[in-house]
Subunit: 312 residues, 2 copies
């Protein structure tokens, strides 16, 4: 069975790791949000791509969910000594990823090509696919003004109320050939439990992406990132609320209406089954919280089975 | 007293440190070779500028003469993990210099401006001046073919016979305003004991540099990098020989004929006094080998006194 996952950062990386465990080597493709990429110190940093890559390679920092295990920060200390900004915690080993990527991008490689090279070098059997090769930047409208995503997310620790989202450059972006191929060749398409606004939102906003999803023959299922009215990680709950959406699995399902065939929710949210079914989606209520690596594989297998069943 | 030194890497950095000790804060300018700059991993690395900068800041690695004391190499290990080239030993802290410099150069700053910012942040009171802002690259003709300088120097450990030197881009280079000001405003101009072919050679080859030296009112003295027929460090002796020059203090003096007023040689080479004087230069024979930091200050003071005396 071939699966194509759509993912943002930590939550997307966890379920992707479960899917990688559940599938035969090479049968997983992960389409990743790149709208929070940015260029600290002139280096192209792709936080979601790297979180997925490090997690699938088994080298991610298990404490933080991002960055590398056993990382050191001598570079950052030296930058600080020069009086430079150091709010983005770029580790010494992590830096190799960004330096090599920046070098290859400047030499004319695509982000898709560079990502394939790096992830193959790390021994990842499947494919990690940037949603597009063009540069897209998520800008958040807040009472404090327009903030770049990493400024909001890392520097200001998500404390600002998000009252609007602007995806700069999205109109010139297109799903890559590799993304189109992964979608059309999949047996199941899985929306990971990532932020529906700023993680999967940009992926779905790439012109042509919704059409490609509609044309793909595979059943499409999502795993809710909201459990019991709260986000499992990050600011998705507050963001949904301040943008006028319902903060619930049903609220997330409503954002994916017309795209999905099924929704995987936590047992806690069993009471929302009727609301979600009313949107034309089948519902699987299970233990949707991934506490540890075995949880990831178990949830991934349930999601794949649920999805495959919807295609029958 | 204001001094302007011309320097390459380790030998130049040592005497510059001595000059910094001997002079009042801010009275030293060092014009540095940039023809062995190169771009590993797309980062602008300036080995001679950095050796001088780290040495004057007191943070250089005393074992190697280049790089930083207490350096770590996690970045390089990670690059190696990606299958990248790692023959150039770029440390994690050192990397901050190259990343910040590359970022600023790409943003349109000059190498002179960037170097001033970095060296001020490191607390250096004087001025470290790239010989020019344009990119110049030393290419060495060898029996193995044309080699980039760092390829010859670091990767192939100077094992190739140098039969020619090509300074690519030199015709478009010009001494910067800061260099011209440092030369014209100096009370003494000191040629450091650097390789006369590939360190001071490029500096003197910048179109307009010899004219600026000739116009500068200060006496000009050099410290010989050859003692007892051997280079104190590096391949200068073999390079002089394979290029048809005499491997001696007198041989070095001959390369600087018409520019210098005086030559500082080691007592070992006292016998060459007559040959050097015949080139129209005064000679100071002293202990010209710098074994430790006190040696640097002592030699610097002798050089300054010798030079100042020639101007009287």
């Amino acid at each position: 069975m071939k699966a194509c996952a759509l993912a943002g950062g930590v939550g997307g990386a966890k379920l992707s790791a479960g899917l990688q465990d559940a599938l035969s080597p090479g049968d997983l493709s992960v389409v990743v949000n790149t709208a929070d990429d940015f260029d600290p110190w002139g280096l192209r940093v792709c936080p979601d791509l790297d979180t997925v890559m490090y997690t699938l390679a088994g080298v991610a920092n298990p404490e933080t969910g991002w960055g590398l295990a056993g990382e050191s920060f001598a570079f950052l200390e030296a930058v600080s000594g020069y009086g430079g900004d150091t709010w983005f915690k770029l580790g010494d080993r992590d830096l190799a990823t960004h330096v090599l990527r920046t070098q290859k991008l400047r030499a004319g490689h695509t982000l898709t090509g560079v990502t394939a090279e790096l992830s193959q070098a790390l021994g990842i059997p499947g494919r990690i696919l940037p949603m597009c090769n063009e540069k897209v930047s998520t800008l958040l409208k807040t009472p404090a003004g327009l903030l770049e995503f990493q400024e909001y997310f890392v520097r200001r620790r998500q404390r600002d109320e998000v009252i609007g989202v602007d995806l700069r450059g999205i109109e010139d972006a297109r799903p890559t050939g590799a993304v189109l191929e992964a979608l059309s060749g999949a047996d199941v398409i899985v929306f990971c439990p990532s932020n529906p606004v700023v993680s999967l939102g940009p992926v779905l906003s790439v012109p042509g992406m919704r059409e490609a999803l509609a044309a793909a023959p595979a059943p499409k299922v999502a795993v809710s990132p909201i459990v019991g009215g709260r986000a499992l990680k990050g600011p998705a709950d507050r963001m949904l609320s301040s943008l006028g959406h319902e903060v619930s699995s049903a609220g997330v399902a409503a954002l994916y209406e017309g795209i999905l065939d099924g929704m995987v929710i936590d047992r806690t949210d069993e009471g929302q089954r009727g609301d979600i079914e009313a949107l034309g989606m089948a519902v699987l209520a299970t233990d949707a919280v991934m506490h540890d690596p075995p949880d990831r594989g178990r949830l991934a297998r349930e999601v794949l089975e649920f999805g495959a069943g919807l295609g029958a």
